[in-house]
Subunit: 188 residues, 4 copies
């Protein structure tokens, strides 16, 4: 039985009254997303970015690429089909990375099919802070919008405007189905 | 702003850590159904049935019919379209009551278009006990299945097998979109 | 990429106009249920019931049980958790069959844990006709309510009132998450 | 009965066969989003932007503001709660426009509470072309990501990377619940 199924005990006690009421506790199957799951998935994304940078410094590109591939397979939903991914630093004609290979090339570069990619996750990231402006939860999908600040090992910070959409899969795990990241508008 | 939107304060405190994390509390829009909302909607259905019986005894058929009409408009989703309603005691060719008038006739009778209906809600009900076997929550809809025991003013009890599906509307209120009630199987 | 993902070609042609419009065809990921999928799933349920009866007659209980087990695993959602299943002929205290073994016992009997079960699918069924009163589709779940008429090899017919809820899984397949079946009400 | 409920006729003919099948046509309630509805909502957004510009030129700021207010009320979901809106040209601390007034200020300016806003919709837009990279439909919400090219009356073009999320309301109308627009990344 998968992880998002919980038996709720003692619940009916709130309701069983002399005039009737709901008496039984019952198994509950709930496929909806919770706010806590959304926050945890965002947290995991930040930790994953830092891990790729650290693996790169400690184990080189080969290790970083293996880590990035594993993270993409665990955190994104490419197994469900095209993911709507607009990374921070991509340009036409390769702005959108609907495929797993396009996402991997963005994070670690080293792919001749994506010549503009230098490896966003290889930039020595140490810390990711996420400040949500708002969260929408609609059934098994949730969207967030906010500011994400990345700090590198020199203490340099980069802040981006970021939208994520997560979908809960049959195993109860949130996966990124949409990710739009952009540098803040700066008037000339 | 409607009732199922809540500002969640202090949440980020769980996550803000030196290594980065989610720092902001954010407004949350959540259109999913909760177990507590399902239990409350079931409870309200039972109380409504008792109310119709009491209004009938105290105010006659006219009052009972007015109460039943108000309850159907508040608790069922006929304003969204056909409701999948199979009441306990209906027969072909009027087994299913997809329209508001079909539901009203079932509860209070007195409708020449539904000659078999004698008014299920007029049977002197005093108490409704609901024992859920299980609850499924999928986004803005939830289904329940279980036993419902009705007690009348003589203390006579009737138990039925009941399935309900509730849908949360734009105002955040659960409405019955499906209701299948049946007497338990009794072998000859 | 799973089966419910389709590239839609030539779509934009409908919209591309001199004053602007939507120009691109785009890959579409759609996790919602269609009416055709619901009808096909109902059809498959009826064919499966007939198959169990025929396998029983041709291959005995062992074959019937193997077929029933395979059908339950393919058509129901016990792998997601408890299924809300109220079969036509079950009684308290085993009215609801939330587990796979409870469903299997109902269809083919031969399980000491379910002494009342004689094997509903072993009754020589030849034909299943489904007459929907209505269908509700809400995202990745759909509910149906209607009359189902079963015809056995002697031409005897049994009609039941039936509610099904189907959920589309990650592979794009509909699975039964709720099934309430009951004999029509017959006044004494 | 609202617009997204359709009676489907003749459907069962596909399925009614000698060996049984689904025989009845039935009313269908469907709350899911279709691709055609998404494309039409995008189209309407583009036409609305052009209309505000034209009303500004023909009727001045007062008329433009009235048109923009009407469009926001019809096309966005501020009546449901905070909309996740990151317009193309906004900056901290007013990057995100979760309120109706924040959206109106962005489109037509003239609001002292949003001093950076000059009125994005007042820039003489004549044509909006939308090129979707992909569309995701999950129940009553749909997300799109792609390029949107705006052409002004001098023929000058501006292309942005845009994500929209639409939600179908109880009346069957799509409303924007999330909108993230950003200028393409341009390396220094």
């Amino acid at each position: 039985m998968n992880t998002h199924i919980a038996r709720r005990l003692g619940f009916a006690a709130l309701f069983a009254v002399a005039s009737g009421g709901v008496m039984a506790t019952a198994p509950v199957v709930n496929t909806t997303v919770t706010e806590a799951e959304v926050i945890a998935a965002q947290q995991a994304w930040g930790e994953a970015l830092v891990r790729i940078s650290q693996d790169h410094e400690q184990g080189g590109l080969k290790k970083a690429k293996a880590t990035a591939a594993a993270i993409i397979d665990a955190a994104y939903a490419y197994q469900m089909g095209p993911v709507l991914f607009k990374p921070t630093l991509t340009q036409a004609p390769q702005t959108f990375r609907l495929t797993r290979e396009g996402a991997l090339a963005y994070f670690v570069g080293d792919d001749a099919r994506f010549p503009q990619d230098t490896g966003f996750a290889l930039k020595g990231w140490r810390k990711v802070d996420i400040q949500n402006a708002g969260i929408h939860i609609h059934g098994d999908v949730a969207t967030t919008m906010g500011k994400v600040t990345l700090t590198d090992r020199q203490g340099q910070q980069t802040t981006v405007d970021k939208t994520w959409q997560f979908k809960k899969d049959d195993a109860g795990k949130l996966r990124i189905v949409l990710h739009h990241s952009s540098l803040p508008y700066a008037p000339k």
